[in-house]
Amino acid sequence: MFDSIFTAASYLADGMNLLFLMLGVVVGIIFGIIPGLGGATAIALLLPLTFGMQAEQAITLMGGVMGAVTIGGSITAILLNTPGTAPNAATCFDGYPLTRQGKAGVAIGAAVTASSVGGVIGAFILILLLPVAKNIILFFGPPAYFMLALLGLTALTAASSNLLRGLIGACLGLFIGFVGYDDLGGVTRYTGGVDYLWDGLSIVPVLIGLFAIAEMLKLYVVGGSIAKSDDAASVGVSGTFEGIKAAFRHFKVILSGSVIGSVIGTVPGVGGTVASFLSYSFTVQTSKDKGEFGKGDIRGVIAPEASNNAKDGGSLVPTLAFGIPGSAEMALFLGVLVLHGMDPGPMLLLEREFTIFVLILALLAATVASGIIVLLTARYLIKVTYIDSSILIPSVIVVSLVGAYALHNSIGDVFAAAFFGVLGYLMHRFDYPRITLVIALVLGGLMERNYFQTSLMYRGDWSKAFGDTPFVILLGLVVLALLMPVISKAIKHKAGQKA
């Protein structure tokens, strides 16, 4: 195996291939920054270009894109409260407040470092998991997926500051997820006959609305510019250095984020968004002083960013092992593989070790390279936040809506984004958390589908589910997540009594 890694590394270092890698990285960053565009669109765009290439070159190019996209996305999340890609949504929660305090440089420095290191860790985990990839995929069945979805939902809801409103938000998110054709029961739900809604509401226009547009509406009402502080120091290079140092100081957060990202990444259909939210929530729950989260706690930036790069490694596991894409991005990547004669499946991992290592190393190199590029250009990017809101608002809204349209070539997505923009603004105004809504939206479908699959599988007898190991483990975690707030309050109370 090690000589394969070495050969792959020397392959990548070769001039032409390095060029492809950098091209992928630059494209990835740009597509990551613009909301609505993302890894999937970038890969779709570059796909025809790869027709004449060798398989490894195409893979290097795509690896470059995938490794760079979420780093690009973190910039808009931090500076404009707009997740550039869905997995960057959690980064907004603490990244944007930092920007408002004039500490954008710190946030970017930390985000980039967490992303790069997280991506590296994720790549290593991928190398470790690949030999047992098949077993991992086969290990998780409908009972486990159902429990996993439930875990995600409970963990995040239990962590909300206002439990009642968090739950209401979750219910709303579930209902938004119900919209569309249900292929289990064969019934179209909550569409009111509107064709556009037949496929349901896709997460990207919803996120663009809830975060980007809502933020612009907020900015209009409140006025001023995004960054309030005149402290130029934290904007410049020193700010980013401080961010980098902070990331390493909280290395444990990077580690937990990467592990969560890799593991969740292996679950098809769940992907980066859930991974970053879970990582964020996990960090919040397991921190002693939680007061600053949501107001600019640097750990709130580190956790999701580490996981949304680590998930690239994880999501390759089902893609390579079985040709099951975990996301739209992976589906396209699969298309690239097939086009170049690589048929993902039980045979691939045995037959094409070299190519796979090229991919893994490309991902690794891309995360690091894009991190460096962003750090170097951070100063200029941050200037955006000092632009007066009158100029920023129409520009961001227009670009966001174009991005929303570009996703599926559908004007419906534009209206959806606008609708959720208003909803997001209202939710902020009346103090309802958006995070539980988003998580419920992402996980709802998974939960429902696997609930019925499990029920059918066991012919209605759920007691049989307790024979499924991952189901039991995850059930334990759900109980733990529910009890966590109670437990930590009890511990604090005891500590308070002793003092």
Partner: protein
């Protein structure tokens, strides 16, 4: 001031309750397993909404204690909010009718002039700049066929 804020919380809770009832009714029209989860979540939502409603009513009836004023949000002008929604609505209408390439410069220009009160020169430049950005990135680079608007099609 305090009473008005609490009333808005009350209105929201009321609205959510109404929504819960509506989605629940719809859920019962979906036969078989398609209806199961919507019904379940519908009842939960209704319960939660009523709880929230109860809490809001409680807060209005009982005199508010001064310690709570700490988390009162900054006074927000409802007029400004409506204007914000209005601008968004106009943009949507324009996009629907004439598409992106025409709406973008018009909207950006109008917004900068009317709301931002920028000079004619600045407004035009930025409007053109935004349009050029959209054009170059989405049409040239990405070869998208951006929505031409209902009036311009066919």
């Amino acid at each position: 001031m305090m009473a008005r804020r609490l009333n808005s919380g009350l209105v929201v809770a009321g609205l959510i309750t109404v929504c819960a009832v509506l989605v629940l009714v719809a859920a019962y029209s979906y036969q078989g397993i398609s209806g199961t989860f919507p019904q379940l979540v519908g009842w939960i939502l209704l319960g939660l909404a009523l709880l929230e409603l109860g809490m809001q009513v409680n807060a209005v009836i009982r005199p508010a204690d001064p310690g709570r004023s700490a988390d009162e949000p900054e006074a927000v002008s409802v007029v400004k909010e409506l204007k914000a929604f209005g601008w968004l609505g106009i943009l949507l209408l324009a996009l629907y009718l004439v598409g992106f390439l025409i709406s973008t410069p018009l909207y950006v220009f109008a917004f900068l002039r009317l709301s931002g009160r920028l000079s004619l020169a600045m407004s035009s430049t930025i409007a053109v700049g935004a349009t050029v950005f959209v054009y170059v990135v989405f049409i040239q680079l990405l070869k998208y066929k951006l929505f031409p608007g209902v009036l311009m099609m066919g």
